[in-house]
């Protein structure tokens, strides 16, 4: 099982699909954030799989960059969420329409 590239790409594709569904259909912004993280992790898995299959270190180095960017994105995003919650008192994407006023 672990000698074939396809066996690592397929779980990553499933993870990406799950994250995409969550972003499209969930209402709460924290859950949407988690789903964005899952899509990034799927990209990381694909990078690692291809780097391992082609025996090329550069794909592995990219995982490091993705993790750094994901970490800073989470920090800024959650700060915005807490701020938004202070103002609007909800995190549902149905009810937040401050920019529409």
């Amino acid at each position: 099982m672990t000698e074939c590239l396809t066996n690592f790409i397929v779980p990553a594709a499933m993870l990406f699909v799950t994250g995409m569904l969550g972003v499209m259909f969930k209402r709460n912004m924290i859950t949407i954030f988690m789903c964005v993280e899952m899509m990034l992790v799927a990209a990381m898995l694909v990078f690692t799989a291809f780097a391992s299959a082609t025996n090329d270190i550069e794909g592995g180095v990219f995982v490091f960059f993705i993790i750094a960017i994901a970490a800073s994105e989470v920090a800024v995003g959650l700060a915005i969420l807490t701020r938004l919650f202070k103002v609007d008192d909800t995190l549902s994407t149905k009810e937040i329409n401050t920019l529409g006023d």
Partner: protein, 171 residues
């Protein structure tokens, strides 16, 4: 042994991800995502990318998930209402899309299974560091600047409101 581990990690990865979009309670949902991240780290271990698996566990399992749980506890938002029909529909669509990706991704990869080396260059931490500090030195510094900008931005966003301003003026 490796095959068993492969299936266990895949189940953790996909099952945890499904839990994130199905479970209603945010803390349980975050724990489910933690399970998923640990599964991803396990798959990276099976690909002999030990350093990637390590930073995956320490950054995602440690820092990011703690941040998520912290914010969930801090905010304590109202739970979504129970919509069994919506959840069932979500599950069905998820299962269909997963089946589709299971069918089509192998054909996208030409159907010819590429072999994975038993212990490739990813296991070599020296090569990793050398590549990071020679070829990718500029992106590395840009990432440093990005992290600094993120820290400054978070402080600017989260600092208490200035006195005399109305609440809604701050956004």
């Amino acid at each position: 042994m490796q095959d068993v581990l492969y299936y266990v990690f895949c189940a953790m990865l996909v099952g945890g991800a499904l839990g994130v979009i199905i479970i209603r309670d945010f803390v349980n949902s975050a724990m489910s995502m933690l399970l998923s991240m640990l599964g991803a780290a396990g798959l990276m271990l099976l690909m002999h990318a030990y350093f990637a698996a390590f930073i995956m566990v320490s950054v995602y399992g440690g820092a990011v998930m703690v941040l998520f749980v912290f914010v969930v506890m801090l905010i304590g938002d109202k739970l979504e209402q129970r919509h069994w029909g919506k959840r069932l529909a979500l599950f069905v669509v998820w299962a269909l899309l997963c089946a589709l990706s299971g069918v089509f991704v192998p054909s996208l990869l030409d159907g010819a299974p590429r072999p994975m080396p038993s212990a490739g260059v990813l296991a070599n931490i020296n090569a990793y560091g050398a590549c990071l500090l020679t070829k990718f030195i500029l992106p590395l510094q840009v990432v440093g600047v990005l992290l600094l900008a993120a820290v400054v931005g978070v402080v600017a966003i989260a600092k208490p409101e200035a006195r005399g301003k109305h609440k809604s003026d701050m956004l």
